[in-house]
Each structure stands twice: as C-alpha cells, then as structure tokens.
Point group: C2
DNA sequence: TTGAAAGCGCTAACAT
DNA sequence: ATGTTAGCGCTTTCAA
C-alpha cells in the first residue's frame, strides 16, 4: 500500500506538505501542489482513511436506528438521509433493533465508542433514560416518531394530530356520522396524536365519541384485519373507518371484503402514510402522504449541524403532509 | 475520555495486559483479569474502536451495493445480511448506486480505501473491468444477480431458468398454449435466464415461440402495464402471461382490468419474486418465492470466509426457491 | 511556504 | 503470565 511518506519522498517534500495538499490546498504554493498532485496520481495514492479517522477522532459515518428495514416507510426516510449524507461525504450504517431492547442498546453503544459521529432515530421506542443521557453528550436526531419528554432531542415529523383531524373531517363532510378509528399502540406519542385528531374532529362537528368505535391495532395488516372484524360485529357498525396506517387500512378492507361488505360503497376506509402500494390497492387508498424523503434529508442536515458543534434547539420541526383523496373513502353520501 | 493506559495504571498492570483481557481473556490469569475488569467497569472504559481499527487495518464493516433500497427485494436480502453480520460483530453500510455509474465507482472506492472489509453486490450492473480487478484484491460477493463472466465472484442466487421453466410449465399444464413473456432488461443475465426458462418450457411441450409474445420490460410496474397493453392489442392475444417480476405482473393485471379483461378468468398472469404485496394483491399473485433472507445470510457468511483469508472458489451457489400457486394463474382450462 | 517531530490509542512481537 | 516497546499512517503545532 502506498502511503503518504512514499508520496512525500518522491515529490521531495515532507508528509506535512502532502497532507496540506489534501486538506488545505490553498496554503500550498501552486508549484509544490502540482508536483505533489502528480506524484499522487502516478503512485495511485489513496489516503488511509482508518488512520485519518483515528487521528481526527471522527468517522464520517452516522447510524440509523429503526425497528425494521422491511417497512417501506423507513426505507423511504433512509433514502432521504442517504441522499443528504452522501452529499457531504457521510456514510450511513444500518441499525435494525428488531424490537429488541438489547440490540438497541448495542446500537447506542456505537455512539459511545465513537464508531459513528451521530445517530438518527426512526423510533422513540428505546430506553428513555439512556436516550436523555446520550442526547446530552452525542449528536442525535429523531424522525417521524416523538418522545414523551419533548425538548430532549431535535425531532422531525409531521403534525399527526392535524392530519388525522383533516382526514376524519373529510369523512364527516362526506356525510358520515358513525366513524370508527383503528389506532396504533397507545404507548406511542404518534398513535395518541392520531387518535386525538380523530376525536377532536368528531367533537368539533358535534359527533359523539363511541367507545366501541375505538380499536387498538399495532400498525400491522393483521391488526387492521382483526379490528375491522370486531367493528363489523357491532350492533351498530360504523359507516367509515379511520385507520392510523395504510397497512391497517388494507387489513380492514380485506376483512370487509371477506364479509361481503363493499368498500367504499358500504363502508369508507382511509389510511395514513401513503406507502407504495396504497395507490395500487383496490380500492386505491385515501390517505395522508408523509414527506418521507424530505424528513430524512432534514434530519440528516440537522444532525450534521449538531456534529459540527452548532448549538441546536431541541425543537420539533413539523413538515407538511398531504391528503391524498383516492377511492377508498367514497363520495358524498347524499 | 478514559483510555487504556488509565485502566492499566489503576489496575497496576501494563496496557498489554488490559488489551489481552479484552482480546484473549484466556491468556490472562484469572485474578489479574478480575482486577482489570473491575477497573474497566469502575472507569466506564470503552476501547477506542478507531484506534483499534487503525492498528488492525480492519473495520468490521461491510458495504452493500444496490440500485435502490426502496425495492423490497433488496431490503429483504439486507435483513439476511444484517442478521448474519450482527452475529459476528460486523456493521453494514448502505450503498445506493441510484443507477449512477459515478456513485457506484465512489462506493467501490470505499473498498480500496479500506473503509470496509468487504462488499456485497446486489446488482451486477457495474463496470465489468473494475469489478474483475477489485475482486482479485478484495473480498466481494454477488447476490441474486449474475455476472457475464462466471467465476469472477462467488455468487449466491436461485436457478432463474429452472424456476421460470417451472412456472411456465405450470401454465401449460393448466391447458394454456398461447403464453406470452414480459422480460426484464436483456442486458441482465437474470432476465435472459428467465426468458430462456420460459422458452425452453414451450419448446419441451412442443409449443411455438411467437415473437409477438415477447415483451421487454424493466421490472417496473409501469413496464408491465405497457407491455400488457401491447399484448392485448395483438390479433391473437395470449391467454397467459409469464412476467419476470411481481411488479410487472401487477402492472399487467392492472392493464388487463383497465381493458375489462378479467384475471384469471380471461387471462392468467404470473410473476416472480413474491414481494410482500403479492399475496395481498387481487388476484393474489402466483409467483416464484425467492429465499431472500437465506440469500443474504449465505452471502454474508461467504464474505466473512473471504475476509478471514480462506480460499474461496468463485462458485455459483444456487438456493432453493418455491412456486407459490395463488389466484392469478387460475385453474385448469378444461 | 515548508519541514520536523510529536503524538492519537491500541496491538502484538518479543522479551522476561 | 506479564511487561516492554515499536510502530500503524496521518494531522497538526511549532519553528524555521
């Protein structure tokens, strides 16, 4: 392996000068610089990044922690992160927690061991105390999810409550009065916000909040399916369902079809997220499109500011999302 | 930051001993080991991985190169890779080529700069000469795709030809004689193999190979849609279609529906890959399920052998895939 | 504008 | 079983 000293020798300069040519070319005389550059080319010299990282105590690498990469929602955010990271020479390491506390802790250790310069969390389902602790010492950003204690981490997300309100209101305006909700796990801030948005919309339009219309899911297809089955078993089943995720909405639609209930003719069902297959699904899902790519980009850029030592407020940055009206919500009832 | 010498001092041993406790605990006397371990705990010492990497000239990191992480096929393989990697303390870095030659070259440079110990390719659409060159010097494994020159890289995949043959034959046995094929880009080995399997099945059953029944797609939904439109415009349209990917099959189904042609009643359509939504799709797609997780795992384990310096044959390892018969192929015509 | 030289923290060969 | 010691290749301070 060619090293810097080889280049230095052949170019008849010191290693310091070679290093300068690479780091701060403007501090080297044009002539010297050219000579060094020539030798670098000739020897096909590649600086040893390991040595550089060690010396600088930085890795130009960041860690993305998520429950599972199989979820298209996360891959989309990652694309945004990767896009921004690549622009400034950062690398992205994957951290699948697989919902396992131990694995998550192991991941966080990477930060402590300085194996990465910073970390982007795609989930807040982690040890809270640990999180508060490391967020003080290291660069960490949270995306899409929320922490119970606000102001601990910079957070990039959408206004879940507002969007949930909006899509529920859309159903109300279509003439629905019996609207159910299939929520995500209620230990997640995000799920509670979506639930609140749904409830607030009902209240603002003087509609009662039926306890029986509240189903708890876990964002999975199966939970949407099961919830819908329960809902249809009610004496007075709803005519519309607001699911907190597209997967659950799809599960709900499948359950309805299974029972011979047509969507949207007999029942309107809407989702949340706008994952790739929502528009292919039949009926195409009415849903809230999250700006995943932008969220990832923004998160990475905030993280870089943190890494660069800039003072960051632990603000919550809300990005705009969009209501996608497709087929599954149906049309005006009258 | 606590360093090894701090631990050594407090434990009244040399740094070498501390290092041994961490690397080869069995070579240290139990008593000494305990003492050192105590001090490590007390000082909350974390070894500086950057220094270690530098010293050892290894990173315990591997790079996965793929066109796009948004494709569920790739994420599934990555889960397998990650699973195996984590077991042995390896980290996985993402390399999105975004189909861009320059980005791909930049990624390959990571290897040369020793930023990663090895590389797993999820696509063979890269500079061939460059690939041959680096495969001699570095640890590289190819998954799912194939190289023109065999025996350049260890390759993990399925027998595309055989599987394509099998699914085509399934349609023949159902009574179809007019079977079309929507292929992937024919500059990919994988696409050609799937095409050959389809053709061979026809020939073996004395069915003619109609030139008009060959549509070239690019594995995308849209290309499947467009191809199907062309197929339906034929004077004598096929009664069955073998698509080289589920996405294209879905596109084809949508095109058929659009034209009022029912699947599978009027036309049978089958796919390839078994992506997540294939079973949710209506009709549920008959397809070939690739063992993505296993492929990723296997690739990582071969890569580790290479990294460990074991002599590796550049063999092609074919994993078993499974024919998933669902709704889109229909039943026996008679 | 350039060079000399001191490390960064760890590992491992060698010595004891 | 443990210690001594020489670097790994680079960056950067200080001096010239």
């Amino acid at each position: 392996m060619t090293k810097m000293s080889d280049v230095a020798k052949l170019a008849q300069v010191s290693t310091a000068t070679v290093s300068r040519v690479l780091q701060k070319p403007e501090t080297v005389k044009e002539e010297t610089k050219q000579k060094v550059l020539e030798v670098i080319k000739k020897l096909d010299y590649q600086p040893n990044i390991l040595a550089r990282n060690f010396r600088r105590l930085e890795t130009k690498t960041i860690l993305v922690v998520m429950p599972s990469i199989l979820n298209n929602v996360f891959s989309q955010i990652i694309v945004g992160i990767d896009y921004e990271a690549t622009k400034s020479g950062y690398q992205v390491i994957l951290g699948n927690t697989m919902q396992d506390e131990q694995r998550a802790l192991g991941l966080i250790n990477h930060l402590k061991q300085k194996q990465v310069d910073g970390m982007i969390l795609l989930t807040a389902r982690l040890d809270m105390n640990e999180l508060v602790k490391i967020s003080k010492e290291y660069s960490v950003v949270l995306v899409s999810d929320f922490l119970e204690n606000k102001n601990v981490l910079p957070t990039i997300a959408i206004d879940n409550m507002k969007e949930s309100y909006r899509i529920t209101e859309h159903l109300i305006k279509l003439g629905h009065t019996k609207i159910a909700h299939i929520s995500g796990p209620l230990d997640m801030s995000m799920s509670r916000d979506r639930l609140s948005g749904y409830q607030k919309a009902l209240m603002d339009h003087n509609l009662p909040i039926e306890y029986g219309y509240l189903e708890k899911g876990d964002y999975s297809f199966q939970s949407g399916y099961d919830s819908m089955l329960s809902l249809m078993d009610l004496k007075c089943p709803p005519t519309a369902v607001v699911a907190a995720s597209d997967r659950m909405a799809m599960g709900a639609v499948k359950a309805a079809k299974k029972k011979g209930v047509q969507v949207p003719n007999h029942i309107a069902i809407v989702g949340f997220d706008d994952i790739e297959f929502s528009k292919l699904f039949e009926p195409a899902l009415t849903t809230v499109a999250q700006p995943f790519f932008e969220m990832g980009k923004k998160a990475m850029s905030i993280l870089q500011q943190q890494i660069a030592g800039e003072q960051i407020n632990n603000d919550i940055i809300l990005l705009k999302s969009e209501l996608k009206i497709r087929e599954s919500c149906g049309f005006n009832l009258k």
